[in-house]
């Protein structure tokens, strides 16, 4: 069963999806559901004998195109509504032993074209207000399938964090007449200490206000609000800088050659509104603060919403900048 339950104290939706308790949990390699189906072998999610990139609806979705009726009644105090939406899985490669950082720049660029196609196709649906593209990488993040893949949630509402960003960007624009992200990029580039990598279209940096020690934001230099706004050359630039950031993560500590992370894409909503004051960007949150210590979301973070970062963004920014490979071009 799945449904949306309104939390009136925080004014946000909570998704209940009890069927997800039964989802596949670290299957043996011969039963990898994200691999192509080999002749005579275990029938996976993908019947073809090989593929380049595939996208399919999640077997254990939090949202459905045709959701069931809620299992509990809605009340004025605590509204309940069907979990209408779409949850997609994006398989980056048929090779289970690869990860995104190990794919060629061209393959990452192809994935960006697929992401753009999904943003447009999902965003065109009447009930979809926000298309959220993300990747959970690593057991520490809660990943239950190690095959390289990402996910896309098409929400029937604008989620709270993007909404807060939109509100802040709008307020900044109304107050100053400038784009908040232009001002952040200008400040970061002038300061320089937190810059991780740059190219002509994007800047990667540990933000001044980083919540995780090695958090990196990749922000478009130009006024794009969604991945579909990027032309071919900018998509190629995005592929290059993403690959550099992910390779830096894997080179950060010898004992962590495949650093876990959460990668999220923040874009304009698809509700038909105008969001020119916003900016397309990608955020990475690796959970480690040292090679063997995790950053936990504990009392202050989980209960008060106040992140405590045990590092200075200036130090982690320099460390990541000095970690190969390097990409700094103006």
């Amino acid at each position: 069963m799945s449904e949306l339950r309104w939390n009136p104290t925080l004014e946000e939706w909570v998704v209940t999806a009890t069927h997800r308790q039964d989802r596949t949990f670290f299957p043996p390699p011969d039963y990898n559901p994200l691999a192509p189906t080999k002749p005579g072998g275990f029938p996976t999610e993908i019947p073809a004998p090989t593929y380049e990139i595939v996208v399919f609806e999640n077997k254990f979705p939090s949202f459905r195109r045709t959701p069931p009726e809620p299992s509990v009644p809605s009340t004025p105090l605590e509204p309940v509504r069907p979990a209408e939406g779409i949850c997609e899985v994006v398989c980056y490669t048929p090779h289970a032993d690869k990860e995104l950082a190990q794919l060629s720049v061209t393959k990452v660029e192809e994935l960006i074209w697929v992401w753009a196609d999904r943003f447009a196709a999902l965003g065109a649906r009447e009930f979809v207000q926000y298309v959220f593209i993300f990747e959970n990488k690593g057991r520490e993040i809660g990943v239950t399938l190690s095959h390289p893949h990402g996910q896309i949630y098409a929400y029937p509402f604008i989620p709270p964090i993007p909404q807060r960003e939109l509100n802040a960007a709008k307020k900044h624009f109304e107050r100053t007449g400038r784009n908040l992200y232009d001002d952040i990029l200008q400040a970061e580039l002038e300061d320089g200490r937190r810059i991780v990598a740059t190219n002509r279209s994007f800047v990667a940096f540990v933000p001044f206000y980083a919540r995780y020690p090695y958090e990196v934001h990749v922000v478009a230099r130009s006024s794009h609000t969604a991945i579909t706004d990027l032309d071919g050359s900018k998509r190629a630039d995005l592929a290059r800088i993403l690959k550099v950031v992910m390779e830096k993560y894997n080179n950060l500590w010898p004992s962590k050659p495949s650093l876990p992370y959460i990668m999220v894409m923040h874009q304009r909503p698809t509700d038909g509104g105008t969001y020119n004051y916003y900016r397309f960007h990608i955020e990475f949150y690796p959970p480690y603060r040292t090679p063997d210590k995790l950053k936990y979301l504990a009392g202050s973070e989980a209960g008060a919403g106040v992140f405590i970062n045990d590092t200075h963004a200036e130090d982690t920014g320099r460390t990541l900048r000095d970690t190969p490979p390097h990409l700094l071009e103006e």
Binding site: A48, E52, V54, F56, T106, A120, A124, T228, R235
Partner: protein
Amino acid sequence: MRMQKKITLKEDGRYLIYYHFPDTATPEETEAFEALKETEESIEPETEEERKARV
């Protein structure tokens, strides 16, 4: 970049989309893509770009 896609339906009604990049695909990948039979059911709504191209 050239990109093609084929949409198929799984037995339980979920869609599965294969993306193909003719300029970089291996012969095996191209063969697998060409062998796919697309569903006749309309799954994806028309995007803004497609609508503009049509009118």
